[in-house]
């Protein structure tokens, strides 16, 4: 398993008050994303465990785009990856952020 970790600063905190949310399933080509409101308002971390090695650059790009788009300030995000494609990762991250905004 490869472990990756990213830390970003956002312009604002993610709206909403939900303390945590989980979306997706660890299965082939899929992933689960756990989101917890556990950080200062303009910080966001994303930790990933993936069985597919050597895609660090792709993960970095996916996470950076997600952060720019969703502004998930305050979230500690943890990913268990089952070998998902980047577009699926991106979709799950956005789904997760939306669940936290409820």
């Amino acid at each position: 398993m490869e472990k990756l970790s990213f830390r970003h600063t956002t312009q604002k905190a993610l709206p909403g008050a939900k303390a945590q949310a989980i979306t997706g399933v660890v299965a082939s080509g899929n992933l689960e994303v756990l989101l917890e409101r556990a950080l200062p308002a303009t910080e966001c971390t994303v930790e990933i465990e993936t069985p597919i090695r050597g895609y660090g650059d792709v993960w970095a790009a996916v996470v950076a785009d997600f952060v720019a788009r969703a502004q998930p300030g305050g979230l500690r995000i943890t990913v268990n990856d089952g070998g998902a494609r980047p577009d699926t990762v991106s979709l799950r991250l956005l789904q997760g952020a939306r669940l936290m905004e409820v």
């Binding site: 398993m1 945590q20 399933v25 660890v26 299965a27 689960e32 917890e36 465990e49 268990n80 089952g82």
Partner: protein, 310 residues
């Protein structure tokens, strides 16, 4: 600007049990907002063994447990996620269910509900999984003996295979949908060990009429047949709670008679359609295509598929 074209509430069709994740099943099944998870994903109680095999872990180890309400009744609930490692029993996965059943004794809920979706034992943790299955079966009989019904619901992708099939057979009542399969040896396992002449695992119609929900319901291996919707499972579970058999000598003697009679009546049948014919089904070939309403009507006519001998 994005617009939301699809309003989930206005979709006009029900959530499929088969398609839903374990969490979505629980959410749709229990009274809205009543689910309280025990050892939630944030506790990260993941498998200590999968990393050894370089396999990804899940925060809940594929077993989601907790308490909630079903039509106001307090219940305990466990749901397997069939897409994670085939819903198989590993150490943490199994221990969560064992713990939930043990908790039922002091808490005395109206029922314990097990939403099965499992291929059996997780090979990477085989000894722990197999022992946990034995512990679960013991705990279920204790919970039943204390008067708490244990209801099994089977309609997920992975079915209830291997030890999952044995646990299902230990429950007070079983609700199954057409997609649900209950069996010990899976089709591929039989084919691998005994050859394609014994069982052609690619013949999916054969798989379903041998192990699928309709066959199990017709032969008394399940007590209720539900449409593949979360709402249908909820209704069927409520009915099942209301009339669960006791766990005592009378019940097991009745089950003994029931199972002996099945061997005597159907022991020489090669195919499910022969069994259905002997049960009095006029057109056995038509059974797989029957709608739930037509199938329920057929069951009502047969009249001998419902029993308390479990």
């Amino acid at each position: 600007m994005s617009e939301r074209i699809i309003d989930p509430a206005a979709r006009g069709w029900a959530t499929s049990w088969y398609e839903a994740s374990a969490r979505a099943r629980i959410d749709g099944f229990l009274d809205a907002g009543s689910f309280r998870e025990i050892i939630g994903p944030e506790q990260r109680r993941m498998s200590p063994h999968l990393p050894l095999f370089d396999l990804p872990r899940a925060f809940d180890d594929g077993m989601i447990i907790g308490s909630g309400r079903l039509d106001g009744k307090p219940v305990l609930v466990a749901a397997q996620e069939g897409r994670f490692m085939g819903g198989a029993f590993g150490e943490v996965h199994g221990a969560k269910l064992v713990g939930l059943l043990r908790a039922a004794l002091p808490l005395n809920p109206d029922a314990v509900l097990i939403l099965f979706d499992t291929g059996g034992v997780r090979l990477q943790e085989a000894n722990a999984g197999e022992t946990a299955i034995a512990e679960v079966m013991r705990a279920i009989t204790q919970v039943r003996a204390a008067g708490v019904p244990v209801i099994g619901l089977i309609g997920g992708r992975a079915g209830a295979y291997g030890g999952g099939g044995l646990i299902a057979g230990t429950c007070s009542r079983l609700v199954v949908s057409e997609s649900g399969r209950i069996s010990v040896s899976g089709p591929e396992v039989i084919e691998t060990n005994k050859g394609a002449e014994e069982f052609d695992s690619r013949d999916r119609a054969l798989v379903w009429r041998t192990m699928g929900g309709k066959h199990r319901r017709l032969t008394g291996g399940a007590d209720a047949f539900a449409d593949d919707t979360v709402e249908a499972f909820r209704q069927a579970a409520l009915d099942a709670i209301a009339r669960a058999p006791a766990f005592d000598l009378t019940t097991l003697e009745a089950e003994q008679r029931r199972l002996e009679e099945r061997l005597a009546r159907f022991g020489d049948c090669r195919d499910a359609t022969e069994i259905w014919t002997r049960l009095g089904v006029n057109d056995p070939e038509a059974v797989p295509a029957l709608s739930t309403a037509d199938f329920d009507a057929l069951l009502a006519n047969l009249g001998e598929t419902t029993h308390d001998a479990r």
